[in-house]
Each structure stands twice: as structure tokens, then as C-alpha cells.
Amino acid sequence: MSAALSAAVQPSVPSAAPSSPADRLSHLKRLEAEAIHIFRETVAETENPVMLYSIGKDSSVLLHLALKAFAPGRLPFPLLHVDTTWKFREMIAFRDARAKELGLDLLVYTNPDGLARGVGPVSHGSEVHTDVMKTQALRQALDKHRFDAAFGGARRDEEASRAKERIISLRTAQHRWDPKRQRAEPWHLYNLRKKRGESLRVFPLSNWTELDIWLYIEQENIPIVPLYFAKERPVVERDGQLIMVDDDRLPLAPGETPQQRLVRFRTLGCYPLTGAVESDAATLPEIIGETLAARTSERQGRVIDKDGAGAMERKKREGYF
């Protein structure tokens, strides 16, 4: 049981009283203000920014913060979804509904070469699929539109190499990340300068944790893909992961039939690479309760993080977001 949880289940424990007036601004409000500041700095100092929109909960929060940062004006940049063609169908439906509802300038990009070669996670494995359909596709899309800054929803608490990433992170003209050439980032003074051809990755959610994301979604009533909520879904077990059979492209073993299990997703990606967790958490309070009690990290459901030690660092060096 986490330390935070013990307060939750014992309402008699007095809540932490603000110890000084400076404590008045809650942690979430401070995180929100910091993210808004980062959005505004980036838009003010770059030529052609774009927001990477992955449709997941972090992207939902990112979009919500971006809208706040520029209200009552419109979002001063487009959204880019790198579509591997293997996303859950509910993700695509959600994406299109949100874009329509909010009047977003949404760009969808798929690596045409990978598409022509039929690259996919089942036929080519997670490493090749992620490299071709995500990493290379992203590089192509950024080059095609000449974006010089791309917002992403990555958080430092996700993975050890992310913890060392700057909020404003420089990429070479080849989109490579050099962990040894990171700029100092003191106070709230962000250096958004870069040489011709270089670009920036900008992470306004750097200082958020998974719990902060959920609490903020609840507080702000932010729409998220229904896959995050528990429901009976058809799944098969693959290498210890519960994989949802989202369409007929997932080959089944002879005699294998998907089982209906009460599951939900803690992260969303390509469906054959995204493990579900058994859960009956069907509301935000229940998800927050489960997050507090969780014994495994959210990335545990991601197959690509297990492609060897330091896998994320290597992918990031190669241009993975």
C-alpha cells in the first residue's frame, strides 16, 4: 500500500494543511501552469511547431493544456498523428470525433514505404514495426512538413532514460538524440534556439506522474478513449501479456479462441503490442484507486520496452519520440 493511499483509506488522518501561503497553489495547478508556460514559450520562439497526438491519456491531457494555453484564441499549431495502421479501432474513432468536435487541424501520417512492404507487428516483430512505422514515419512526417518543434506527452517518471531528458530536447538534422549533448535548463529559462535543420522535442508533461495525469483528467473532466475503462473484451494470452483481438489481423493458434475477460488498458499503442490488465475499474475514481494500489508500472504493458536493457534510450537516440 502506498503512503498516499494510507491517507485515502483512513479519512480520520488529518489532511496536510497548507504550511504557508506559498503552498496555496496545489501541485496539479502548478504542473498545469508550468505546462502552459512551456507551450507559450515554444510557440513564441519557434517557426513551425506541431503537437504529436498519440490519442492516449497523456495526449488528451497535453491537448487540453494546449487549448488552455492559447484560449480564447485557437490552437496555433496542427496536431500530427503517426498512424501505424495497427492502433485500436476505438482510438481512431476517438481521434476523429475529438478533431471534429474541437475543430482541430489534424494531420495523419503513415510511412508509405512501410505500408507498401506490409510492415506490421505480427509479421515483422515489435522492433522492426516500431522502427519503420513509428520512428521512421515520425522522421518522415517532420521532414515533410518542416516542423522545427514537436510537442510530446512523455513524462520523466515513465522510464529511467526519460528521467534525464530535458523539457526542451534538441535533435540533430537526422532526428537523433545525444544524451551527452543536453543543454542546461535552469529556472524557467528555456533555450529554444537551434541550428538550421535541427529540431526540438518539447515535453510539457515532463514533471507529471501517472497519478497526476489521472487526477488531472478527473479534475478537468477530460475525455479519454474508453479502452482505459474496464469492460469485457476478447483477449488472448501471448508471452504472459493479455492481447486484445481488435480485428482479424491477429493470427490465432489452431483451436485458439479469444476469451471474454474484464480488462482495461493503462497505456495505449498498437493493439498487438499493448497488454491489457485484468481490472474492474470502470470509473475514474476506481482507476485512480487502482493506480495508487498498483504494484507494476504502466510501461509493463508495453512490449517495446522489453526489447532489451536500455531499449528506450537506444530508440530515442534513433529518433523515437
Binding site: 479519512p11 504550511s19 502552459i36 510557440v43 534525464k164 551527452k180 535552469p186 485484468e278 536500455g310
Partner: protein, 463 residues
Amino acid sequence: MTLHQAPTAFADRASGYAAFLVAHRNKAVLRFIACGSVDDGKSTLIGRLLHDTKQIFDDQISALQRDSRKHGTQGQEMDLALLVDGLQAEREQGITIDVAYRFFSTDKRSFIVADTPGHEQYTRNMATGASTADVAVILVDARQGLTRQTRRHALLVSNLGIRRVVLAVNKMDLTGWAQGTFDGIVAGFRDFAADLNFSEIKAIPLSAKNGDNVVEPGIAAPWYAGGPLLAYLETVPVRAEALNAPFRMAVQWVNRPDSEFRGYSGRIASGRVRPGDSVTVQPSGRTSTVARIYTADGDLPEAGEDESVTLVLADQIDASRGQVIVATDAPMRVAETLDARLFWAAETDLAPGASLFAKIGTATVTATVERIVSRIDPETGKPGPAERLSANDIADVRLRLDRPVAVDAYAENRETGSLILIDRETTDTAALGLVLAPSVEASPTTQPARGGLLRGLKRLFGR
């Protein structure tokens, strides 16, 4: 991997959740920096804090056990340092290379920890970590005692405006929890730190490896009754010093979606603002009144430090990015020449005459290094002459800007008294800078040959 049914978090979901939200909404965040020399156990200490406050998940523990066998320095035991040393080179070499940020929370507070390396580019990394920290935890190896590095780190966090430090005397288990050893280190540190303007020095004997006095009290040292590190971090005041600073907000972005609305967006650096307040735009000097504090969630009756808002002014005055909206009765200094203490971060040297970009608030100007006033000895804080600056040097310089900017002295305001210098060619961040109070000497060439340390500190701290 084990699949398991997640336990129900709230026995009575509705009331438990409500209580949790109340507690969480009142929770403040404390940012602290952990610094120490190589092998003092910084990463282990942070790993211990994360582990003992239950922030580490089962799959991370199994990964840690696997990594400990491969890269660990703790024999058969889990090497908690590997939780924070995330880069491959760090794991392979068993050292921390780059500043890392870690997060944990208890039922009292949320914490953001900057874990900074004690050796490689320590000036720049540590200054970065310290720049936003409320508290510094300075680690000392009980067997080594105070080292040159300890003095450097204490001086550096003092320079960056940190007023509360924890002297964490680590590896006490390896001294048999000798009180005399601890007392000697603490006395030495207090002596050295007498001039460093700390408002509080909290000394704690601990063992990060075993966990004594980190989260749980250590039972091995009955002579120490000061409580564990976490208890201190949960109760130390957050930024008590910054509360009385006047209103300042640098304009980031002029929000003008249509002819009806014109707002100035920014993050409030300090102070509070209400509709009706008289404000001045600097450096232009035009004055107006706050008409609205616009946010996407509706207008606010009042806003304060750290909030991102959009101000609508009563008059159609021109304010643009780079200017600062301030309380009319407490304006900032407008300067074209700045004295600044630099933490030089670039690999190339700095010589007088060099031209760089300076980012001050939201203003970016060209800055020419008119002269290097003095280099600061990183161990004693004493100024000395210098022709050039090399990587990791600390120095006071005079900068000439190509146009005036509004600044405060760093001692009075960390947000509006700080700057970065950017190399025009590489575009890398070349230096971190603290704006010094304006010099009172008529001729700058007369400073600061004598009485240098004290006067230097007085200028830095504004006292």
C-alpha cells in the same frame, strides 16, 4: 510477469476517494537537490527514498534485481542507485553523468528531486538542479568527512539562493555510528557555512544503503533524536523567502484572436495581482490598470506566483514579448549594462569582447562581455583576477546589452534576476547567470580587490 487482480484501493470507494482528493488538493510540492561527491551515495539515497516510500513497482524491482547482477556495486544486494542512473553509460561506469529528476509523494507532500552528478560538469548540472530547488541535501561520506567537493557544493547552492540545507552524513554504518565522527563533520560544516547565508542547516546521520534515518528512524544511533530525512522534507517551509516579492509577469505571448480581445499571456514570476491593480509595462514604462485576469476556466479575482494567466489591461497600451508587467509601486530596474555572476557551462573559453545571446525572462538580447571582473574560487568564494573563463568556472562579469531590459537582483527574485547566455554559433546554453545588485562604486575598476568574499556575498545576497 504475474497477472493479478488489483486490490480495491478504497474500502468505501466514494468516501475514501473524497478524502484522498481533499488531502491531495492541499498537498504542496517540495523541490530539492541532492548533491555530493562521487561515491557519497546520492543515487543510492534517492533510490532509497523512492523504494521506502513505495514508489517502485514490482516490475521495476525485478528489473533492478536483474540489473544489480549485471551492473550493481553492492555485491549480492539490490543496488538502489541503478533506479536513478538511467543512461547506459551511467550503468556501465557506475556513475551519474547527467542531472535526473525523480518524483515521489507521501500523504503530506509531493517531491521533485534533482539528482546531480558530483564530478562531470558539476557546476552547470548542480546550478541547474539548484535553480528551482527549495532545499539542498548535501551528502558527505562519514569516513571521508568534509571534502573540497562538499565546500564547492555548499557554496554553489548558497549562490543559487537556497537557504535551507540538509547535511546528510551518509555511510554512518561503516563508522559504527560514531557520534564523535558525526559531530566533528557537523561542526566543520557549520564553521565553513557561517558566511553562506543559510537560514537552516539540518544535520542527519544516516545510511542510505541500509535505510537508517532516510524514511524510517535509525535505531543504531540512539544519540540522535532529530528524525529521519523524509520527516524533515515533509515539514520544511516551501519557499518561505519568496512570499513578499512584488508582482512581476514577463509577457510571453500577446493573445489577440479578434479585435475584441487583447490579452498578455505569461506565468506570474512573483507577487499577486487583482483587477484594478495599477501595473507598469517595463522597460517601456507605460502604465495601465488590470481589467481582467483571463484564464480558460474563467476570470480570476486574484492570481499569484507560478500561475499562468492572460492579463487584459484597461488601456490600449502596447506591450510585447520580452517586456514585463510589474506592480507600478515596485518597478524593476531597467538596465543596458548588467553585472552578473556566471556559471560557465560551455566547453569553449570565454574572453572579454565575446558576443552571445542573453535570455532574460522572455527577452532575448545580444550581450557583449565588456569585462571579466573576477573569477570566484569555487571552494572559498573569494574573487581573483581572470583573463578568460573555462568550463565550470564561476565568475562575475559585466555585460553590455544591445537594448535595455527589466531585471531584479537575483538575491531579491530568482525568477526575474536570472539569465542564460546562449552561444550564437552552436546555439548551446553557454552560461547560467545571476543578476547582481547594481554596483555602488563610481569606478568599477576599484572593486572587488579587498574584502572580496564578504562584499561579493553582500552583492549577491543583497545585504
